[in-house]
């Protein structure tokens, strides 16, 4: 068999796998997009309230504490998780070279997941919020979430179990690890904080072990899996170094776990556990450098494609943000830096740096690659993609810069007892206003993205079926 034949065979095979994943992936992508819009609206409202506290101040259900928590949960459990279910399972199926069967069950589980999140966020609005960070949704949805997750997560395992590929690729380790880690941290946190609360500040330790690991052992491995898949895929050359991937994976698994305690630096918990969290946070430099080198060496010499492919544009932006946000994170965990940065808007900026500039950007890039292959048609609007990228990139950059600078000033002033607290608070207002501006940028970006998604999914007229290399910017193809 010639190389061209085997290549065609592989195309046919992958195409069949894509077809088998079509409906569940579409379902999760559309759900994710809707949650993204809801989360953006809630984020904007919360941001505006921060410098204009009377805004919508007469309604209890829209008080700041609730809109802010609804924003977080809509984004993390609505947008991020649905995006992960689409992208993670699709990559897993492709790499396992196996068609997924009994997809009805997967979609039913997905529907239950989204119903649970909807009830949970309604619960926050009506006053059933738990006030446990990253676990605000009331406990009555926990069983539903757990069952839905089990049914979704098990798909990744099944695909892996029946894989027909001989080689196991780095993305598969990350996805497999994450699918296993997430239910563990989630159920431990639910039990030890909400159902059978541990004594005193052991709750806080559990809380931050959990919340940081949602980022570290769930969002991060999934985004890295996507980066490891799409960068070589789109460029068309193998990943730079297999051994660096191994090193990166295991150091991440070992160190990220421990890092969460840096959220309680200076708090009422044993000093040794904080120190261990700081050590782990600094050690995170290793997986980050290793991954950065690996991605960079893969992409080097192909930067034209990074600019021309929407997928790579977003994914590379995300991968670069990962390096930067991790270095800043390691620095912030040091006691001398944390003394200033803790309790300020800098932390909020850092969280968005990780979840948005890194994770979300990579998910955008992934969806730009996946949808045309599920639907056999090209993205309808190049302008909307360009608009999406630039508003998202600019918006998140503005947000990160303003919250980092503003938060740092806030921290310095807060530690200076000569300055009355109210003056410290007033000093943050210009920065908070700038953050709201950045929120509008992101809202525009997300609208552009959503329009394009609904356009490609629901309207098929006038679009050319593209087989071959879709998802370069449309101008390279037909328009």
């Amino acid at each position: 068999m010639s190389a061209a034949d085997s290549n065609t065979d592989m195309r046919i095979k992958l195409s069949a796998i894509d077809q088998s994943m079509k409906w569940p992936a579409l379902f999760f992508i559309i759900s994710a997009t809707l949650w993204l819009l809801a989360g953006t609206a809630l984020g904007l409202i919360s941001s505006y309230k921060m410098h204009n506290p009377n805004f919508l101040g007469n309604w209890e259900w829209l008080t700041f504490g609730r809109t802010r928590s609804a924003h977080l949960n809509a984004v993390i459990y609505g947008w991020c998780n649905n995006a992960i279910f689409a992208v993670g399972l699709w990559i897993m199926a492709r790499l396992c070279r196996t068609e997924i069967r009994h997809l009805g069950l997967l979609i039913v589980a997905g529907i239950f997941w989204n119903i649970a999140i909807t009830i949970g966020i309604a619960g926050i609005f009506i006053g059933d919020m738990t006030s446990v960070e990253w676990l605000e949704m009331p406990t009555y949805i926990t069983p539903l979430l757990a069952i839905a997750y089990a049914l979704i997560g098990v798909w990744g395992i099944i695909a892996f179990r029946y894989r027909q590929s001989e080689h196991i690729y780095v993305s598969q380790w990350y996805i497999l690890g994450a699918l296993f880690w997430f239910p563990w941290i989630y159920s431990v946190a639910q039990i030890m904080i909400l159902f059978e609360p541990a004594r005193g500040t052991v709750q806080s330790l559990t809380n931050w072990w959990f919340a940081h690991n949602v980022l570290g052992l769930w969002l991060t491995p999934m985004a890295l899996a996507a980066a490891y898949y799409f960068i070589p895929k789109v460029i068309g050359r193998p990943i730079h170094s297999y051994y660096l991937s191994i090193l990166g994976f295991w150091t991440l698994a070992l160190f990220y776990n421990w890092a969460g305690v840096h959220h309680i630096v200076g708090g009422p918990v044993p000093a040794w556990v904080i120190s261990s969290g700081i050590v782990a946070s600094v050690m995170m430099v290793i997986p980050v450098i290793v991954t950065a080198i690996n991605h960079h060496m893969t992409a080097i010499g192909h930067f034209r494609q990074v600019i021309e492919s929407p997928t790579l544009r977003f994914v590379v932006f995300g991968a670069m943000s990962y390096t930067l946000v991790s270095f800043i994170g390691s620095t912030m965990s040091l006691r001398s830096v944390n003394e200033i940065s803790h309790f300020t808007h800098l932390t909020v900026g850092h969280a968005h740096h990780g979840v948005y500039a890194f994770f979300t950007m990579i998910m955008f890039g992934s969806i730009y690659f996946i949808l045309p292959r599920l639907l056999y048609r090209e993205w309808p609007s190049k302008i909307l993609i360009t608009c999406h990228f630039w508003f998202a990139a600019l918006g998140i950059t503005i947000m990160i810069v303003t919250l980092h600078v503003g938060g740092w000033i806030q921290g310095l002033e807060m530690n200076n007892p000569e300055i009355p607290f109210i003056e410290v608070m007033k000093g943050t207002v210009p920065w908070l206003k700038a953050r709201t501006v950045s929120g509008f940028f992101l809202a525009i970006a997300h609208l552009a993205f959503a329009i394009n998604v609904f356009w490609i999914v629901f309207f098929r007229q006038g679009q050319k079926d593209v087989i071959g290399t879709p998802t370069l910017f449309a101008s390279k193809q037909s328009r």
Binding site: T63, W173, I185, P197, F343
Partner: protein
């Protein structure tokens, strides 16, 4: 890494390692902390018999108020932890006369340490501002007591009602003229905000522990 059982063991043990280290070890190390007297008995090294034990269990209306504090999400702008003197300005800002320690929290079903200080720390707000009427005005509209505050108003926890007879109710807020409601009406606290203020009043750090003494 084609050795699957080994990979899976690695995935399992890395997380087990952190869970044992951060969660389980601490649960064993201090998860059974008990209340104690302000000083240890020099002879036995334990609590002094007959002295009051601290911290004390939260009771009554304050516990209901904590629920309100939680469902409104106060914790997202207010911490409840005092860092040691010399680390930050917690001590100088009178947020507590001593550092808060693990034992202070043992009776709390839900620990609300918080991670954000958009507003000041509340660990000892009951010591610092022991005046319920101040808190009512502040909650009704924060700018009454704190010009330029970014705290949202919680006026929806209060009831505006017509004054019956000639006397205003005892609990009615004494609003300054620029915030006053129209003639013939008064603003009275609802039950939930009464509970919330009782909770704020109950937040105190007015005792010593052997491991943390007030300065």
């Amino acid at each position: 890494m084609n050795n699957l059982p080994l990979t899976f063991c690695g995935i399992f043990f890395t997380l087990a390692f952190a869970w044992i280290g951060i969660v389980l070890t601490n649960q064993i190390q201090y998860g059974a902390l008990e209340p104690t007297t302000e000083q240890y008995d020099p002879e036995t090294g334990g609590p002094i018999e007959g002295d009051t034990l601290y911290p004390q269990k939260p009771v009554g209306l304050a516990e209901q108020g904590k629920k309100v504090y939680m469902d409104l999400g106060c914790m997202y702008c207010h911490t409840q932890q005092v860092r040691r003197k010399g680390y930050g300005s917690d001590y100088e800002r009178a947020w507590g006369r001593r550092q808060s320690v693990a034992r202070d929290y043992i009776y709390q079903d839900r620990v609300l340490l918080g991670t954000m200080r958009t507003g000041p720390d509340l660990m000892a707000v009951g010591d610092r501002l022991p005046i319920p009427t101040w808190h009512h005005l502040h909650l009704y509209n924060p700018t009454i007591t704190s010009q330029g505050s970014l705290m949202p108003p919680y006026a929806f926890l209060y009831e505006k009602r017509e004054i019956k007879g000639s006397e205003t109710s005892e609990s009615a807020l004494k609003l300054p003229p620029e915030f006053a409601v129209e003639e013939g009406y008064e603003v009275v606290p609802g039950h939930r905000v009464d509970a919330l203020v009782a909770y704020l009043m109950s937040l105190k750090l007015d005792y010593d522990l052997p491991e943390a003494k007030r300065e």
